[in-house]
């Protein structure tokens, strides 16, 4: 397609503006984590590593990071197992209500977090009689993390078709051997991509977490939220935010590399 020069320029300017709006504030956070002024005077007059030192010493921040990583790892693990099984069942077998089940699995990612949060909060406390804490966060995160794994695996299985599995069976491999030697290796990069996306989703989740975390457990986003308005903690919050940016960007970047151009961010 050929575009008129004016159209091309307009497109470039708009794209540039959009990127600026998104990334200038992020850059500001990164800069301010080194800004010597505690009130973030602009432009920064001097730079310091003091906030980073403080952050490293902050017990609350460290505990929050550990909790967040643990939650994200376990929720991703659960999602990998359940999401893969669901995708295989829905892609390889036809049964009554298949489309409905597929919709129900994807729905949690579309539902407003606040609805999911309230619903889970009620169910955990009243129906299951659970105390809110680590376990309830993990279960809550798994409900929407499954979707990324499910979508990635489903797309891969669809592209793969059943030919390779038939060829494997034809050559004498049992169903389990076929899964081990053919299906699983073919799905591996989709699983890694889905798992990393799930990790990233869980790691920065705040709404559902607020309703399912209870008083004892703090994930990193909740710790930030709680400390945001304490003036003497504000510089440390900037540092933690930078860490959070890095921890979110890396898995997304890797998963995009792995998924290739066709799958992309199919999970979102």
């Amino acid at each position: 397609m050929t575009m008129s020069p004016a159209f091309k320029v307009t497109l470039r300017v708009l794209t540039g503006l959009a990127l600026l709006v998104i990334y200038v504030p992020l850059l500001l956070v990164v800069l301010n984590s080194f800004n010597a002024s505690q009130t973030f005077a602009w432009p920064p007059e001097d730079y310091t590593l003091e906030w980073w030192r403080k952050a490293v010493d902050s017990q609350g921040a460290k505990e929050a990071v550990v909790t967040s990583v643990q939650v994200a790892l376990i929720a991703s693990g659960i999602s990998l197992v359940l999401g893969t099984m669901a995708a295989m069942a829905l892609q390889r077998y036809r049964f009554f209500g298949r489309d409905t089940v597929s919709l129900l699995i994807i729905l949690p990612i579309a539902l407003p977090g606040i609805v999911t949060g309230i619903a889970l909060n009620n169910a955990f406390r009243t129906v299951f009689g659970l105390d809110l804490g680590f376990l309830t966060i993990v279960v809550a995160h798994a409900t929407f993390c499954i979707v990324t794994v499910f979508n990635n695996v489903l797309a891969r299985l669809r592209r793969m078709g059943t030919n390779l599995e038939e060829a494997s069976a034809d050559l004498g491999a049992s169903t389990f051997t076929t899964f081990r030697l053919v299906t699983f290796p073919m799905m591996r990069s989709a699983l890694i991509a889905g798992g990393l996306l799930a990790f990233a989703l869980s790691f920065d989740e705040i709404i559902v977490t607020t309703f399912t975390a209870g008083a004892q457990q703090q994930t990193l986003p909740i710790w930030i939220f709680n400390n945001l308005f304490r003036p003497n903690q504000a510089p440390v919050v900037n540092v933690v935010a930078v860490v959070l940016i890095l921890l979110s960007v890396i898995p997304i970047w890797i998963s995009q590399k792995l998924a290739g151009p066709t799958d992309g961010l199919a999970g979102r």
């Binding site: 030919n163 060829a167 069976a169 034809d170």
Partner: protein
């Protein structure tokens, strides 16, 4: 499973009885009976959707029949899973495992049957050399050409020494020249190994070239099972006459006037001679027909003329271009001509 178990005395390699397959309300295969002998090169020929591939997939075990039985070497395998049948398949799209090397692909069948590593290395290498790909073991399927992939698929199946090899349009994705070469190679391979080949194709020339016998499929049923020569010279139905070779059918008034009896008859284009003068008709040609040339098509080695008969209908005449082209063009469009052929070249075909 590493070497074919001896077949029960005299049992055919494949015996199919009353085979039927329905997909929902569609009948894909309808009451098919077949006996395929040990060591036979047997082709299933038909247009797409005629049920030939479905029969193959049922023999392989990928589809389960709605009714009927399949026996391999006298043993009923109708309910067996694909991995417990002593057959191997060469797939239309080859279905090579992209995450394995060529050698790993070929070794796969031996690996899952727990053949010791050293033995499977040797056998895989032998199989690759047999298809002239001895140097390619370390490559990935993605780095091979279509023809090479086809050979790998063949090696991967043959390394298991199956009693029966199933081939699902294995040459369909190759260009014409390569396809011709592979046809000859496949036939040689089959003769050398003595394995039963069950070959699916929609290409009549391919089936005629390679097969010992051919089953012609149409709408889920078998129209005729015969040797290539019989299929061509003595087609049993108008469908076979039209699908194998060029359709040249006489019926209605033309049949009564020219042959003296009612019915449907087939005559092959190359059996018919075309003369400008009725007095040139050879005496042994009992059947003659007058007509007007409607179209002349130059085919290189031969010239094809379509002649509208005075008694109705039209016939295609094929003449080798033995003379120079100018002489061959004598009977141009619009010329009045006389066609003649031997009575025995008129084959009655029953409406299927």
């Amino acid at each position: 499973m590493s070497s074919p178990a001896p077949a029960r005395n005299g049992a055919p390699a494949i015996a199919i009885r009353g085979l039927r397959k329905e997909f929902g309300s569609v009948v894909a295969v309808d009451e098919v009976d077949l006996d395929i002998a040990n060591g036979e090169f047997f082709s299933m020929l038909g247009p797409s959707g005629s049920g030939k591939t479905t029969v193959l997939r049922m023999v392989a075990g990928f589809e389960s029949p709605t009714a009927g039985t399949i026996e391999l070497g006298g043993v009923d395998v109708t309910k067996d899973a694909p991995f417990s049948r002593d057959v191997n398949t060469v797939f239309q799209d080859y279905a090579l495992f992209p995450h394995m090397t060529v050698a790993q692909n070929v070794e796969y069948g031996l690996r899952v049957k727990r053949v010791p590593r050293a033995e499977r290395r040797t056998r895989a290498q032998e199989a690759l050399e047999r298809v002239q790909l001895g140097e390619y073991g370390a490559r990935r399927p993605g780095q091979l050409s279509g023809g090479q992939r086809q050979r790998v698929a063949l090696a991967r199946a043959l390394v298991n020494r199956p009693r029966v090899l199933l081939l699902d349009e294995p040459l369909g994705a190759l260009d014409l020249k390569l396809r011709r070469e592979m046809q000859v190679e496949l036939k040689q391979l089959q003769r050398d190994l003595g394995i039963t080949f069950l070959f699916v194709t929609h290409d009549q020339e391919e089936a005629l070239t390679m097969s010992d016998r051919i089953a012609v499929f149409n709408q889920g049923r078998i129209e005729q099972v015969a040797s290539p020569r019989d299929l061509y010279e003595l087609p049993a139905t108008p469908f076979v006459a039209g699908f194998v070779g060029t359709s040249n059918v006489l019926d209605g008034d033309a049949a009564i006037k020219l042959l003296g009896e009612p019915g449907t008859f087939s005559v092959r284009p190359e059996k018919i001679q075309l003369h400008l003068d009725a007095s040139h008709v050879p005496t042994q040609h009992a059947v003659t027909a007058a007509g007007v040339v409607r179209e002349v098509v130059y085919l290189g080695s031969a010239t094809q003329s379509i002649v509208d008969l005075d008694h109705g209908g039209s016939l295609i005449v094929l003449r080798q271009n033995q003379q120079s082209s100018e002489e061959g063009d004598v009977a141009g469009r619009g010329a009045h001509v006389h066609l003649s052929w031997r009575r025995e070249h008129t084959v009655p075909v029953t409406a299927g």
